[in-house]
Amino acid sequence: MEAILKSDLHAKDTHAPAKSAIFWRPTAQTGLISWLTTVDHKKIGFLYGVFALFFFLVGGVEALLIRLQLMYPNGTVLTAQQYNTMFTMHGTTMIFLAIMPLSAAFFNFIMPLQIGARDVAFPRLNAFSLWTFVAGAIVINLGWFMHDGAPDGGWVGYAPLTSKTFAPDHSIDMWVMGLQLLGVASIAASLNFIVTIINLRAPGMTMMRLPVFTWMTLITAFLIVLSFPFITIALVELMMDRLFGTSFFEVSNGGMPILWQHLFWVFGHPEVYILILPAMGIVSEILPTFSRKPLFGYPIVVFSGASIGFLGFSVWSHHMFTTGMGTMATAAFSLATMAIAVPTGVKIFNWIGTLWDGRLSMRTPMMFALGFVWMFMIGGFSGVMHSAAPADAQQQDSYFVIAHFHYVLIGGSLFALLAGIHYWFPLMFGRKVSEFWGKLSFWVIFAGFNITFFPMHFLGLNGMPRRTFTYDANLGWNAANYIATIGALILGVGIFIYFAVMVYTFLKGEKVGKDVWDARTLEWSLPNPPPEYNYRVIPTVHARDAYWYNKQHKEEIAREEAEGAKAEAAHGGIHMPHQSIYPFVASLGLFIASIGIAVIDHDPSPGFWGNKIVVSMIGGVVMLAGIYFWALEGNEGYHLHLDDEGNASADKKAAKH
């Protein structure tokens, strides 16, 4: 805890760092060390993105295998056990290792730029979140390379199927510990974002002037902070049952497996909004930019986001309509779930209002954003159908549900994230994706997605349950399954085109100047790619669409900037935090400890290194050492002095001795 509190960007001291006898002060700007020790929110955001996209591709391959297995009745591509592993890992990977970290990539990269900050409030904590996320991702996926195999308990991990009795091998342990690490990472990152948004806003950036993406970041961060504890406790209880023989979900000792479902979904439903609110934020940035109009009804969009987040905590049991909750509870959760459709609908109305009377420029990000609105609408409507509990009794755990949440998660979250990548790519890398290839990938993805998932509505209504590795030919499911698989292959091609083009553009794409879209928010006032200190002068904000205002009032802004630069120089230049390896060390310790808890066998027979307790203790010691050094190295930084061209390197070297 102390460690966390010490990583304060706003260190009071102004002296250059002394050469330390104890602490390693890495200064590498390139190479592996620079990435392992970076505290720059942009680099961390980039790394989040890279890892997320890698796991997105892994999850995609798992999805394709699932679809190939189901292409024909009684398919033989996978065995039952392999299939169960695939859908478990597909769900876990896409939710926790692809969509969430991809959102986190944007939180990290874009949000501090949007509020006119130079970094997040706790840069080293940010690095810790990243590496803990990576550690968790590895732990979850370790099973692929082990005898026990990857987890196969479903992404919801319902007890008692995940208890020691029914899942005696280590795969569930790895799933549990991996998710615990991801929880630590997500909570730590979210605390950081909350403090950053509330406390590091540029002068004049009032809460009601925050860009909507930043608002949604804030709401999402609150949802994470308040909902992740529930899954953490659920996982703790499951792990206690598995390791120490407690009885939380042990039926013979009075355990009630329904408790797992309640704890899981008190987390799980806010999690749905954790996945969709950032996407809504991204779309609320893109639509105004490409309509060349401000967002229609900004305050209502913000409040509807907040009320979605708030109501999101009161509807969890709609995932449990078939567990026999009784009429009153079912009715209450049914009505609450319907109520949540109102703020969601409000957002759609406001997006349409934004388009109305605009000058819509149909660039690739806009295409994806409009695709989002359409697909999310369909997903939202099937969601309303689920809220009607009697109808849900037939739809629950059928392919209708699969169709619904893929419309929300792919058509919703993923489309918006893909839109965001296109939208901010020029800012991040100074290059722009070709319109032709961008639009081509959009249409292939759009078509593939709908061909895959639209027939699933009919499959579900025709009685096909989810999580089934096989089906008979006489149930009327053949055609829809076949089409869905063809669609999945098309979707796969689309995603391949998208990323191939992205990699090509990263290396050789067309170079563009700043503010390529004539955008409205503050991050576009920066050169691309943004310098490590972001803003030469902390901007002063005068209006909601801050940069749009700046572009209309160039003289006033230039005057302010000159004054600001003078004041900044008088304060000793731009304060920058030091790089640090210790967050990485702390995450490494957590990683080793999780391996000890989850992977190593309980019997000490494999010798010293095989002993569960020894490995866990080593991990604990490494983590404590990391935190200890992190606390003691202090939060000093160095100062940059920029010349008129913004050239900092010479001064920086001097500042560092």
Binding site: P294, A388, K439
Partner: protein, 412 residues
Amino acid sequence: MRLSSLLTSTARWGRAGFALGALALLSGCDYNFWRMDGHQSTITVAGPVARSQLEVFYVTCWVTLVIFILVGGVLAYATLKFRAKTEAEEKAIPPEQGHGNPLIELGLIGASVLALVIIAIPTLKGIWYTYDVPEDRKADTYEITATGYQWWFKFEYPSEQIAGSGALTTGNELVIPAGRPVRINIRTVDVIHSFWVPKLAGKVDMMPNRANFLWLQADEPGYFWGQCAEYCGDSHAVMRFRVIALAPKDFADWVAQQTSPARNVTPKPGETAKAQFASLRTFKQNETGITDKYDVAPLEAWKAKQFPEKGENAALIAQGKALFVSKTCASCHEVRGHGAAGISGPNLTHIGARSTIAAGLIENNSEQLQRWIRDPGSVKPGNKMAKAYIDNNIKLTNEDEVALVAYLQSLK
């Protein structure tokens, strides 16, 4: 740029093209994907509970469809109308920088609330109606207990007590009286399962330490497909069952037959076990184990199973009966009256009269039964019978298999 504008215009046609392509794919199939009249359809329902649930679904469907057409129409109109056609138009003077209109917002919120109220009323009615048997039908209700096992279903009839062995117990085929409400107690012995017969009622989960129930009713006699709907481990996908609704008289006959002990076939003096040793063919892994007759006239096919087959070889059956005990089958399965009283597997007292085996997965005929007895693990991955074979080192010769099959088929 020219290329990209070409793409945009082709793309618009492309969507239609994809739709047509999908249609073309369908032309070779027996079913079109939007047809929802399969054996597990929730749309072509056969009982009041499923019908009530379907009605609620239709309300949600129509309300959302109307909203979708309205909102989608406005969205499509706005997208087409306000599109910048040229690059110059994109860069032209920006439009009026309006920030919104509270009256429109409030109006739309009000309209959405109204639409939801339209859904909420039938929803609430449906919740209470589908929860339990209506008061005026309570007296007429027939009660059954369904218990989930990994991966099969046990059905008990508390009102049909058999002296010395408790309630009538069957497995994987639930026979109910048609036209009467049936209240089913939903239990499990291991993990969570879910009881789902789509044509009769929505699902209710079998939760450990939780006394769930549901009610359903079949309007007419019929043969219905059901399946476990909650992921329950390796063979979740093949944990299936059937519900057979019979007219009152047929049901009474069935109960009478089931409550009697297992059928005995006594060999005539001098009769020898003549097994047909045609070796079992190899089954493809992706082979459907059920013949068409259960698609065409399932109830008739099921009724035909109730009577002893012609050409039974009594000596072979006797041999099978002995094997049933000596090969330890009896330690898990009960055959009432034949000295087999195991409880961890399905009750086989009248297995020969069932239409399916292996939890509704494959048809109950000699060939499929032999396939199942030979290698249960290949039919149903991870199941306990396969494990018991390994644990007890059970080896069956072809002759053993044929004898066991003859015995089990004789248990009508």
